[in-house]
């Protein structure tokens, strides 16, 4: 394996080790095949496009007071669903926390959590972008695949 490939492997592994990604990401990797060689990247791209919009919606809703917790919870539920579908572990955890605060009617907690959520969301985006870029440069490598 050449240097680039090794680096890609390491990058990928650290994403898991540091808790950014979970098992669901591996599910996506396994779906990638010759017919869809960039499937994972496409999914991630779609997620980020969609989730950015969602975040804006939630942000606007948070600015309105009093907080409509039901609505906020609804938004976050959706957001959590799509984040979990790509395996965004830390983002998902923040979503969960946000929902708990919504249920408790804790506006302050919601707002704090929301900020943390945005940070995690942005961090993951950067990491994934770097990862995909390097992966493309390195060429197809064997990513860890679960034995079928």
């Amino acid at each position: 394996m050449d240097k680039n490939q090794r680096q890609v492997r390491l990058m990928r592994q650290s994403l898991f080790d540091q808790g950014f990604l979970d098992e669901q990401f591996i599910q996506l990797e396994e779906l990638q095949d010759d017919a869809n060689p960039n499937f994972v990247e496409e999914i991630a791209t779609s997620y980020y496009q969609d989730s950015s919009r969602s975040l804006q919606t939630i942000e606007l809703a948070l600015e309105k007071t009093p907080h409509d917790f039901n609505k906020l919870d609804g938004y976050m539920h959706q957001f959590k669903g799509s984040s979990s579908s790509i395996g965004a572990k830390k983002v998902k955890a923040e979503c969960q926390q946000f929902r708990e605060y919504c249920k408790a009617g804790n506006g302050e907690g919601c707002m704090r959590t929301f900020q943390a959520l945005k940070r995690e969301h942005a961090t993951l985006k950067k990491r994934l972008e770097a990862y995909f870029q390097l992966a493309r440069q390195a060429g197809p490598i064997e990513t860890a695949r679960r034995p079928k």
């Binding site: 669901q24 599910q27 996506l28 396994e30 779906l31 095949d33 869809n36 499937f39 496409e42 999914i43 779609s46 997620y47 969609d50 609804g74 539920h77 959706q78 959590k80 669903g81 799509s82 979990s84 579908s85 790509i86 395996g87």
Partner: protein
């Protein structure tokens, strides 16, 4: 396929293309399962689509519930299953679930990131057949086909149930001797009067969409009319006939209303927190009427006739049965329709049947089957059959009890299980059972041949292995699925069982065979036999049953009609069976001999054998016959104690008939060959 929004026609088109040829597809079931996935989240939608495609399903994605409904309505029978998210902006997922259940009666799987108990419970009460927690893993999607099969099976049962009520109207078409005798090939079968009517109905079907019988689509307006009528009558007093009258919708049949009513009742129960599926299916099916139907299907035509012939079966019931069975027997008035219905409702249109079966397979339209049946004639047939079955007694095995003594015997032979089996056909649980059950029901009740037919068909499919129906579409019940013989197995369930067997066997002239096979009605007896033979391992009581019919038939007027039909069936069945072992041919032979004009004679002669055989198990005959199919014969023998009789009978037949090694000795059912 990338339907990002709403469905483009393409996706629909592409997805519906999946089941173009049930035969081909069915073999690969569940590959090609047509899935409609609805989720407002585009990322999830993309992932699900990819996962489903990896499972080899045909996927159509949609991000709006309204669009999904539109797609479903435009393309009835275009999908086998729906997967929907719970939280969607334009329509609540549960609402969509209800609509789909009422209008199309497709299995619906709900998904959500929410795994709270109350939400899951809501899914259950609204009738979701499963609930997946997001993020969905591909493993969870791999087995969704089971819901399709299960639903089809249940639908079969429902149909039968509702069909039985209606029976009574069906008048058996005058038996057409000519039809039977010479037309072993499809030509005659189709000509059965009954068939014609049904076929006409079938013809209306959209062949392009896998030969499915036209389903009644319960639009919102129609449903409202329906609900209005029900409320007016009072939910307890609401009977399909009255509802139909109140609704006054041209083209709507009592069967349509009956099956819809059943669903509606279920829906109401769900709302009230009680979700019990009136499944009597397995058991209820067996309920005399139903069971008979089920069983009958396989036996269909033949059985009815036999039953009728033997005099056991009241002529009327026989007629009804036949009608129900699927007209296969048109002649004797034994409605084979049931068989067809079940399987494919094949009787009506062999091809339809197959189509249906196939359709069912592909679209697993549980609805279709039901609907199809009712609309076509199946419902009626079923009804008839039921009635007949009823008269016979409890179908399940009761059929025998019903009165038809011979049939009773036969039925017994077929075993009560068969009933269940027959019914099971839909459930596809027992492939073998079906055979046995098939045999039985038919016998006793003359049960809708359809029922038997179904079984028969199923058997055919089963032949060697029961892949049966169970997998495919329970609806189809008929062995179609089971046996490897059936090309499409899985989907052949109803429709093609006959066909598949036939076609696969090749022995049977496609035309003739197909019909026969398909409709299972054809050779209800045959089917049974075939199945018996095929399934050697199975206890195809049906086999016995089939044989008995013949015998009995001969004695009665049925001779003419039955014989032919019987023979034909047999021929077919044998051919079908032949796959596994020659048996089919032998069986067919035996059948022929029985059926053929001489059959009467022979029957008479052998009569004693036959009679005894019949009494014991018509199947026995089969066992005997299959000299070729050693396996089969052995099978039969094991099954039927009376094999000896049968074999004796068969031998006679065989000799006359000659080696019918080939699958279809019938060769177009020339009875001539059959030595008298």
């Amino acid at each position: 396929m990338n339907l990002s929004n709403g469905m483009g026609s393409m996706s629909t088109a592409s997805s519906s293309g999946a089941w173009k040829s049930a035969d081909v597809v069915s073999d690969q079931f569940p590959a090609g399962l047509r899935v409609l996935v609805v989720d407002d989240d585009p990322t999830c939608l993309m992932i699900l689509e990819k996962m489903l495609r990896t499972c080899l399903y045909e996927v159509t994605k949609c991000n709006r519930a309204e669009i999904a409904l539109k797609l479903l309505r435009e393309n009835k029978n275009g999908f086998d299953i729906v997967i929907s998210d719970v939280h969607m902006p334009d329509m609540d997922g549960f609402k969509l679930l209800e609509r789909v259940g009422l209008e199309m009666d497709l299995p619906v799987i709900m998904m959500s990131a929410d795994d709270g108990k109350s939400v899951v419970m809501k899914g259950v009460t609204h009738g979701a057949c499963d609930y997946l927690i997001k993020p969905v893993r591909i493993e969870a999607l791999k087995n969704i086909w089971q819901h399709v099969v299960r639903k089809k099976k249940n639908e079969w049962k429902e149909v039968e149930q509702s069909g039985s009520v209606e029976e009574g109207d069906r008048q058996p078409k005058p038996s057409d001797d000519a039809d039977y005798s010479s037309s072993a090939n499809e030509g005659t079968w189709k000509n059965s009067k009954r068939r014609k009517d049904e076929e006409e109905e079938a013809d209306e079907r959209d062949d392009s969409s896998t030969l499915k019988k036209p389903r009644v689509v319960w639009s919102v307006e129609l449903h409202q009319q329906f609900v209005g009528a029900v409320n007016q009558l009072g939910i307890d007093k609401a009977v399909p006939k009255k509802i139909l009258e109140l609704m006054n919708v041209p083209g709507l049949t009592r069967e349509n209303v009956a099956s819809h009513l059943q669903k509606y009742r279920l829906y109401l129960r769900r709302l009230s927190g009680v979700s019990q599926h009136p499944s009597n299916l397995n058991n209820s099916f067996l309920s005399p009427q139903e069971a008979s139907f089920g069983a009958m299907s396989s036996l269909n035509g033949l059985d009815l006739q036999t039953l009728a012939v033997t005099g056991q079966l009241p002529a009327q019931s026989l007629a009804t049965l036949q009608a129900g069975l699927g007209r296969s027997t048109a002649k004797s008035g034994m409605p084979m329709p049931l068989v067809d219905q079940r399987n494919l409702f094949s009787f009506e249109n062999p091809k339809l049947r197959f189509a249906e079966g196939q359709q069912h397979l592909s679209s697993s339209k549980p609805m279709n089957l039901l609907h199809g049946i009712p609309t076509n004639m199946e419902a009626k047939q079923l009804a008839n059959l039921h009635q007949s079955a009823q008269s016979l007694g409890g179908v399940n095995m009761q059929v025998n009890a019903h009165g038809v003594q011979n049939s009773a015997l036969l039925m017994q032979m077929s075993q009560p299980q068969s009933r269940g089996q027959i019914l099971n056909e839909t459930s596809g649980t027992h492939v073998p059972r079906l055979s046995s059950s098939m045999g039985q029901p038919i016998l006793s009740n003359g049960i809708p041949s359809g029922v038997l037919g179904r079984n028969g068909i199923a058997d055919n499919g089963r032949g060697a292995g029961y892949n049966p129906v169970q997998q495919n579409s329970s609806m189809l019940n008929f062995p179609l699925n089971n046996s490897s013989e059936l090309p499409g197995n899985n989907f052949t369930l109803g429709s093609t069982p006959g066909m598949s067997s036939l076609t696969s066997k090749g022995a049977f002239p496609e035309d003739a065979n197909c019909e026969i096979k398909r409709s299972s009605g054809f050779a209800p007896s045959y089917d049974i036999f075939n199945e018996l033979h095929h399934h050697k391992s199975n206890d195809w009581d049906l086999q016995n049953v089939g044989l008995t019919f013949d015998a009995s038939q001969h004695t009665n007027t049925m001779h003419g009609s039955l014989d032919s039909s019987v023979l034909v069936h047999q021929g077919f069945s044998s051919s079908q069976r032949s796959a596994p072992s020659r048996n089919p041919s032998t069986v067919g032979k035996a059948m022929f001999s029985i059926g053929e004009g001489t059959h009467h004679v022979n029957v008479q002669n052998n009569g004693q054998h036959l009679n005894s055989l019949i009494v014991d198990n018509t199947v026995r005959v089969k066992a005997e016959r299959v000299p070729d199919a050693s396996s089969q014969t052995s099978y039969f023998h094991e099954q039927f104690g009376q094999e000896d009789l049968m074999s004796a009978l068969l031998k006679q037949q065989q000799e006359g008939i000659g080696a019918t090694e080939n699958e279809f000795d019938f060769d177009g059912y020339s009875l001539d060959n059959i030595p008298v």
